[in-house]
């Protein structure tokens, strides 16, 4: 599997390829066959996890500042230049707080729940391509893998709600689970539209198929599919306006009421990593991933993903929280039929070869 060709004049197109070849050569001389690839993969995973931690810090800062400006106030601006070290301060605070386990809590599920929520969001980053040849693993079931991982945090949230031994947590957990399973269906169906247009489930293949025309511009299904994907994605990561499970004004803090210190930090990290993963998936599936002129591809990837994340923060600052029955109404009576219609129209268009840009496997 060789990375797709980078134009020779584009500096930093694939900055890690020489390093990877060097490491493979070094380990290949020392160890028997499948181990060098495994070790290089483990190193890549470590690097990506660290990068995600730093990206989450930037997201925390960006969200608080942007929402502050939208609400007519400055956000945090005291810790570090323009408040950039606020996330570091938050992290230090959370790490030094005592992790309190309530006496009525079920200990093992209580402690495991944050992990069950966090680990799938980190695992999703294995398949997402940051640039040509810059995915940790180019899975040929990329989209399905991401979907399967998106279904796992629901169990973690149910564990957190149940094991806390607290009726507010239980309410939050049940609401969260109902919301997550309801919005999973439009998300899955909408994600089939780029798969149909590209003819492959591999994320690298989907990005490469958009080199003529981004899928969001494949009218009329593209923009509607992107909109539906973003709605379902925001609901899947429990962000405002769909943050009923953690509605601060209604049920204390929902399923993570009883969590403090490091355990809460893991939930916090998971929510931001998940929202960045949803933004990255929107970029890869609809906005052409790392494609773009002049700049190095991973710069384009970051630019597009941050734009989508900005839209998510914008929506948070603008819209009020939806009511529970409105939430379910939108999921089952609006988003699901719309998603099915979009997939149907896309399939018809492909079979009649009416897609602008000539896409369609």
């Amino acid at each position: 599997m060789s990375p797709p060709d980078c134009p020779s004049w584009l500096f930093l197109c694939n900055p890690f390829e020489p390093l990877r070849q060097l490491l493979l050569a070094i380990f290949g001389a020392l160890l028997p066959e499948p181990l060098p690839a495994i070790i290089v993969t483990v190193l890549a995973i470590t690097m990506v996890t660290t990068l995600i931690a730093m990206i989450v810090m930037s997201q925390v800062w960006a969200e608080r500042r942007i929402v502050g400006f939208m609400q007519g106030r400055l956000g945090p601006n005291r810790v570090g230049p323009a408040g950039l070290l606020q996330a570091v301060a938050d992290a230090v605070k959370l790490l030094t707080k005592e992790v309190i386990i309530p006496s009525l809590a079920d200990r093992l599920p209580f402690m495991l729940a944050p992990l069950v929520v966090l680990v799938p969001s980190l695992l999703a980053w294995v398949a997402i391509p940051w640039g040509p040849g810059l995915a940790i693993a180019d899975l040929n079931i990329g989209v399905l893998y991401i979907l399967a991982l998106g279904a796992l945090p629901t169990i973690g949230i149910l564990m957190a709600g149940w094991a806390s031994g607290n009726k507010y947590s239980l309410l939050g957990g049940m609401r969260a689970a109902a919301q997550l399973i309801s919005y999973e269906i439009p998300m899955v169906i909408t994600m089939m539209v780029p798969v149909l247009l590209a003819g492959t489930m591999s994320l690298r293949g989907i990005v490469e198929e958009q080199s003529d025309l981004w899928f969001v511009l494949a009218l009329p299904v593209g923009p509607i599919a992107l909109l539906l994907f973003l709605i379902a994605g925001i609901a899947e990561v429990n962000r405002s306006p769909f943050d009923l499970p953690e509605a601060e004004s209604e049920i204390v803090a929902g399923f993570h009421t009883e969590y403090s210190g490091m355990a809460f930090a893991l939930f916090f990290l998971a929510e931001y990593a998940n929202s960045f993963a949803v933004s990255a998936m929107a970029t890869v599936l609809f906005l052409g991933g790392w494609l773009g002129p002049i700049f190095p591809p991973f710069i384009w990837f970051f630019l597009k993903t941050y734009c989508i994340f900005f839209v998510m923060v914008w929506v948070r600052g603008t819209l009020p929280r939806v009511r529970y029955d409105q939430l379910m109404h939108v999921a089952w009576k609006v988003a699901l039929p719309a998603a099915l219609a979009v997939v149907g129209v896309a399939a018809v268009q492909i079979s009649l070869s009416l897609i602008p840009g000539g896409a369609g496997g």
Partner: protein
Amino acid sequence: MTTDLLVAGGFYTFAVVALVGAVGLILARDIFHSALFLVLALASVAAVYVILGADFLGAVQVLIYVGAIMVLIIFGVMLTPQQVNLPDARGPGQVIAGSVLALALFVTAAAVILASDWPHSTSTPTDVATTEVIGRNLFNAYVLPFEIASLLLLVAMIGAIVIAREE
């Protein structure tokens, strides 16, 4: 050689985890813990699928079994009254009869498994696009079972809506 070792090691690890999940499911005192052990067992089976090269099947196992079916089972567990402690009124006769029956089932299953002729494949087709092969078979040779399965799910859904609707 090392690959075979890794494959065997991975298989045995996940097989042990699946067995732990299955035994824990039966022996757990709290029904919520049983549900969590079942999640563990199903996830290990998905891992075994991936080791065997059935990538589509492994992902679908996690997506459907763990992500949807287990969530619904946990919902059901959480919505049933928890204070009901089943009386521990089993006499020694029941324990003996249960053990004999379980042993008989195990011996039958083991005998059938050991006596049948399992085909040995000499190579693992790791680069076959399993999704395409499954899709083609499902919509050409096996389209009738596929449609009947979806009809079955539709009937179940309609039945649930009819039973649960407000009068």
